[in-house]
Amino acid sequence: MSEQLTHSASKKAFRKDIPLIDQIPPRKKHILRGLPESELHVEEFLMNIGPQHPSTHGVLRLVVSMEGEVVKSCEPDLGYLHRTFEKISENRTYQQIVPFTDRMDYLGSMNANWGVAAAVEKLASIEVPERAEYIRVIVAELNRIASHLMWMGAFAADIGALTGFVYGFREREMILDMFEEICGSRLTYGYIRVGGVAEDVTPKFIQMVNDFLKILPDRVTDYHDLITGNVIFIERTRGIGAITLDEAISYDITGPMLRACGLPWDLRKEEPYSLYSKFDFNIPAYFNGDCYDRFRVRMDEIMEAAKIVRQALDGLPEGDYKVKKLARNIKPPVGDVYIRQEAPRGEYGVYMESDGSIKPNRVKYRTPSFTNLSILPLAARGWKIADLIAILGSVDIVLGDVDR
C-alpha cells in the first residue's frame, strides 16, 4: 500500500498523461475479507444497545440481531429499574402507597396517583367531594399535555431534530410551574391523595392555567408547521413500524398506539370514570398504525385535553377539596377492586386486594408502557437500525413504568 502511494505521489498530478478518475480501475471489493465475491456469505451479527443510551429513554437494553443494517430480531432486556413497588405497596398502609406511584410513571405522575387513590376509595367506599374531582381532572389533563409535549420533543430528537427537544420543554415548563404552585413539587407530586387532593387550588394557579390555554393553540400550530409538515420528518416516520389492528389487540396495545391503528378506544369515553361523562371532547384516531400516525394522535390529544381543562375550569364548583374526616389507617372490607384509567401512555390499571387489615394483600400496577413495549420485537423486525430508534421512540415508554 505504501509503495503504491509513493509511486502515485511521484507522478506529477497536473501532467496530461495522468489518467482521469473514470479511467482508474475500480477498487477491489472486499479486500478485508480476502475472499472472492462468490464465496462471500452474509452473516448475522449481534448488536447491543443500552442500557445507558440516550435513545432508549432510560435504562433499557436491546439485543439486536442484524443482517447488514436490517433488524432480524430485537430482544428487549428489562429490569434495570425494577424497584419492587408491588412488594413495597404490600407492606405500607393505603395512604402511604400513593407517593410511590410517582416514581413509576414520572412523566404522568398525576394520573399514576389518581389510579391508586381511586382504587382505595372504591375499596373503602369513600365519597370524594365534587370540587376535588374537578381539580383531579384539571391536573390529570394538564399532565397529559405535559407528557405529550415532552414526548414530542424526545421523539423529534430521536429522529434527529434536536431543536424539537427544546421546543417541547418550553410549554412543559409552564405546566410544571403550575404544579409547583399547587403542590410545591415539579416531578413527583403526590398531589392526588386518598379522599381528595393535598391542597386547594389557588387563584394564581387558575390565572396561570388561563394564560397557558390562551397561548397553547398557537404553539401547537407552530409545531404542526415545524414538525408535522416537515418532509424529512414524514420520510422518517410515515409507514415505519406499522402494526395492524389485529396485532395491536393480540399484544394488548392501548392508548395512542391503539388509536393510531384505527380503533378509537378511550376509557374516558367508553367507560367514563370520574366526571368525564360531563365533558365534551373527541377521540382522535388514525388508520395506518405507523410512527407518523402515533405522532398525529398525540398532537391531537393535546388539543382535546386542553378542551377538557377549559370546561373543567369553567365548571369548578366551590366546596371542600378533600374528605373532612378520614381515618388515619383505612381498613377496607375484604374484597378486591380493579380500576382502569386512561393515562397519557395508555390504560393504567390498579388491582388491589384487601384482607381486612390496614395493609393491602396484593397491589398490581398494570402499566401501559410494559404492554406497549412488548410489541417492539414484532414492529421492528425487517426495518433498519435507524428505524428501530424511531419505532422505540414512538412507543413512548417510561422505563420506570415498564420495570416498576
Binding site: L78, D252, W265, Y338, Y351, K364, S374, D403
Partner: protein, 154 residues
Amino acid sequence: MEFQAIVELVKSRFPKTEAEYDKNLIIDKNDFFFFVEFIRESPELNCTVLDLLTASDHLPENQIHMIYGFQSYRHKHYVLVKVKLDRQKPAIGSLTKWWGIANWTEREVFDLYGVQFEGHPELRRILTPPDFVGHGLRKDYERPGFFVKKPDFK
C-alpha cells in the same frame, strides 16, 4: 353484557364456576383452557383482549390465585377471572398461543411467583436478573442479608 348474565352463561357451560364479590368469576383449573376458548370465540362474550394477567399469594389458604382480565372491545364488557392453584406446585396452561402479550406477562408472573406455565415458549425471568434466587412477591420470600456472611475460621 351484565355480570349476572355472564355468570349464568358461563355456569351453563362450566357448572363448577363460582361468582366472587359480585364481579369476579372463579373457574376450576381443569376447565380453564376450555373456558378461555369459550370466552374468546363465543359471539355473546367475544373477549378478544387479554388485558390483565397476574397472580396473588394467599399464604393461609395455601393457594396462589391467578387473575385474568378479559376485555371485549365489541360488547364493551370486562370479565375478571380467578383460578386457584396449589401453592406448592403452581402450574397452569399458557395463553401464548392466543395472545402475544401473554409471553411477557406470564414471564413476569413466573419471575415473581414461580408459577409454571405449560406450553410457554421461553419461560425465563424478565424483571429480576437471571441468577436471582427465589420468587420475590411470595409472602414467605425472605430477603437475603445485605452483607455476605463471613466464613468461620476456627
